[in-house]
Symmetry: C2
C-alpha cells in the first residue's frame, strides 16, 4: 500500500465518482488509457478489484468503497492543511510564543494586546520569567521571540534593540529631594536605597553606575518585586533606581516622584532576541515589525517627560 501514489488515488477518486474511465480522463485532462493504467496499478497494489464492470456499467466493489473513503479523507486532510498554510501566509492563523524578562511585563502585554487585535486569528502565548529562565528557554528554542534587557553573550543569538529602558531614581513625593533639579550624584549616594535581589539587571546597572563614579550605595532593604519597592519608596523607607516603564501606571499618581539626578536616567534598552539560525515564522515576523513600529509611540508617550531623558529615536510621532 505504501507503493500506491497519490496520483493513483486521485485518478481512482475521479473514476469512482464518475463511474466512467472516459469521463474521469476528461476531468483530469488525460487520455483514457492513462486512466486505465493508473487504475490497474492501484488495483494490483491492493490485490483485489476496486471496480467491476457489469456489461457497460461500472460499479465500486466493497473494497472500492472503502478505498474511496480513504482517498477522500486523505485529500480532505491535505486541503485542510493547505488552507492552514495559506492562512499562516496571510497571518490569519498561527501561534506566537513570547517569553519576556520580568521587568518587561509592564509594557509587553499592552503591545501583545494590540497585536492580537490587529490579527485576531492568531494565538498568543506570553511567558514572564527571570533572566536565567529566559536564556534557558532561548537555548532550548521553546518560544518564537524573547524580550530582555541585555542581549545574551556566549550564545549565538540574533538580538536587536527596539526600545529605550531608562532607569530613574524615584523617591516619595514628600521626600526632601523631590522637585529639586540637577541633584548631584554624591547627594543621592548618601540616601538609603531599596533594591531588588542580587542578579537583577536593574540593580546591576545601578551599582555599576555608582561604582564607576567611585561611590557605593547604602542598601537599606532588598525587596522581591518592583511593586514592593514602589510601595516601600512611597512609604518613605528610602529611594530606588527602577525602570521608567515600571512607573507607567503610577506616573501621574501623587505618591512617587522621579528625581532629577545628574547623569540620570541611566540608559538601558530593551532587546528582541531569537536563536541565530532561526527563520522567523510569519507571525513572529509580523510581531517583530509591529514591535518596532509601536515601541516608538510607546517611547514617546511614556518616556518623554522624564527629567534628563532624550529619546534617540526619530520623533515623527510626538506625544499628545
Amino acid at each position: 500500500m505504501k507503493h500506491a501514489t497519490l496520483r493513483q488515488l486521485k485518478v481512482f477518486e475521479s473514476v469512482a465518482r464518475n463511474l466512467s474511465y472516459t469521463r474521469a480522463a476528461e476531468e483530469l485532462h488525460l487520455t483514457q488509457p492513462t486512466v486505465s493504467i493508473q487504475l490497474k496499478q492501484l488495483t494490483d497494489i491492493v490485490g483485489f478489484p476496486l471496480l467491476e464492470q457489469i456489461g457497460k456499467r461500472i460499479f465500486l466493489t466493497e473494497l472500492g468503497k472503502e478505498l474511496l473513503k480513504v482517498a477522500r479523507a486523505t485529500f480532505d486532510n491535505f486541503s485542510r492543511f493547505e488552507m492552514l498554510v495559506s492562512d499562516i501566509k496571510g497571518v490569519k492563523a498561527g501561534k506566537l510564543r513570547v517569553t519576556v524578562i520580568t521587568t518587561a511585563k509592564y509594557f509587553v502585554p499592552r503591545l501583545l494586546g494590540s497585536f492580537y487585535k490587529r490579527y485576531p486569528g492568531i494565538e498568543v502565548f506570553l511567558t514572564v520569567t527571570n533572566r536565567e529562565r529566559v536564556l534557558q528557554r532561548l537555548a532550548n528554542n521553546e518560544d518564537d521571540l524573547y524580550i530582555l534587557g541585555q542581549p545574551p553573550e556566549h550564545m549565538d543569538v540574533h538580538a536587536e534593540m527596539f526600545l529605550e529602558n531608562p532607569l530613574v531614581v524615584v523617591a516619595a513625593c514628600d521626600h526632601p529631594l523631590a522637585g529639586q533639579t540637577g541633584i548631584p550624584i554624591g547627594r543621592i549616594a548618601e540616601e538609603p536605597f531599596l533594591m531588588r535581589e542580587q542578579g537583577s539587571g536593574t540593580r546591576l546597572s545601578a551599582q555599576r553606575f555608582f561604582g564607576d563614579r567611585g561611590m557605593q550605595l547604602k542598601i537599606r532593604m532588598e525587596l522581591g518585586s518592583n511593586e514592593a519597592i514602589k510601595l516601600a519608596v512611597a512609604g518613605g523607607l528610602g529611594i530606588a533606581v527602577i525602570s521608567a516603564h515600571t512607573l507607567a501606571l503610577e506616573r501621574n499618581s501623587e505618591e512617587l516622584s522621579i528625581l532629577d539626578v545628574e547623569g540620570f536616567p541611566i540608559r538601558r534598552q530593551w532587546y528582541l532576541a531569537y536563536p541565530a539560525g532561526k527563520q522567523l515564522t510569519v507571525v513572529s515576523s509580523a510581531f517583530r515589525d509591529f514591535l518596532k513600529e509601536e515601541s516608538r509611540a510607546v517611547a514617546n508617550r511614556y518616556l518623554a517627560g522624564i527629567p534628563g531623558f532624550l529619546p534617540v529615536m526619530s520623533n515623527t510621532d510626538l506625544p499628545e
Copy 2:
C-alpha cells in the same frame, strides 16, 4: 500539495519522530543525503519550513507539527485499509448480499445461518422477492449472488445448479388418495387444484407437466402464498403441486400428505446466479463453495423419502 508524494511524507514522519536526519536515514535504510533531499522537496512544496535547526538540534515548526498530524492520519487510514484487505482475504470481514426468489426462503435462511456461524466476521444481507425483481436486481448488479428456480435467458448470466427442487402433489392426510401408491396421473387431474397466481414458476411447471400429457387441471382457487395453499389443502379444499422444500417444516406433521403420483415429483432445480462478467468477492466465493457442499446434505436430509424421488447427486452423505 498534490505534488507531494507519500514517500516524502514517510521520510518526513521519520525525521519528525527521530528529530534527526541521520537517524531517519538509518531507520529507512537510506543514506542521509536522500533524506535531506526528500525533505527539501516536501518543504519546497509546502512553501514554509517544516523543521528548523537551532545549533545542532532539530525542532518541528508549527506547520511541521500540523503536517505530521496529516501524515500520521494518512498512514493510519492506509494501514486500516490494509487490515481490511487482509481480513477480507481471510474471510474475516466483508459483506454478502444474496437475493433469492420467494420459494427459496424455505431453505436459504438456514444455510445463510450456518455460513454466518462459520465466518462470524462477515455481514449477511438477504433479500427475498419475486422473480421479476430478482432479475432486475441481477441486471443492476445490486447483490453478490442470486438464487432462483430457472436461470434467466436473454441475459449474460453465469448460473449453476446446486440443489434439486422436486415439485410434489400434496393432499390432506384424510384425503382418499393419501397413502395410495402409483396413483395414475389421470386420476389426479380430476381433483380440484389450488394454485399460486399466474407467473409462479411452480404453477408454470405443473401446468406444463399436465399439458404435455394432454390434460388440463381444474383450478379451484388461486392463493397468494404457499402458506395459504398448505392451509387450504390441509382444510380439504383441494390438492396442490408445491415445492418439496416448502414442506420442510411440515413434513412430519399430521396434516399434509405427499401423494405418490406417476411421473412425480417433477424435477426442478435451484440455481445460483451472478452477472457473467462479475468476479466474485472472497466472501461470495466462500458462500458458493459452502452452498454446494451443504446443499448435498440438505438434499439428503429433506428430499430423501419423497415418493418417486431419486437424487442425482452422489450420496456420500446418507440421511440419518
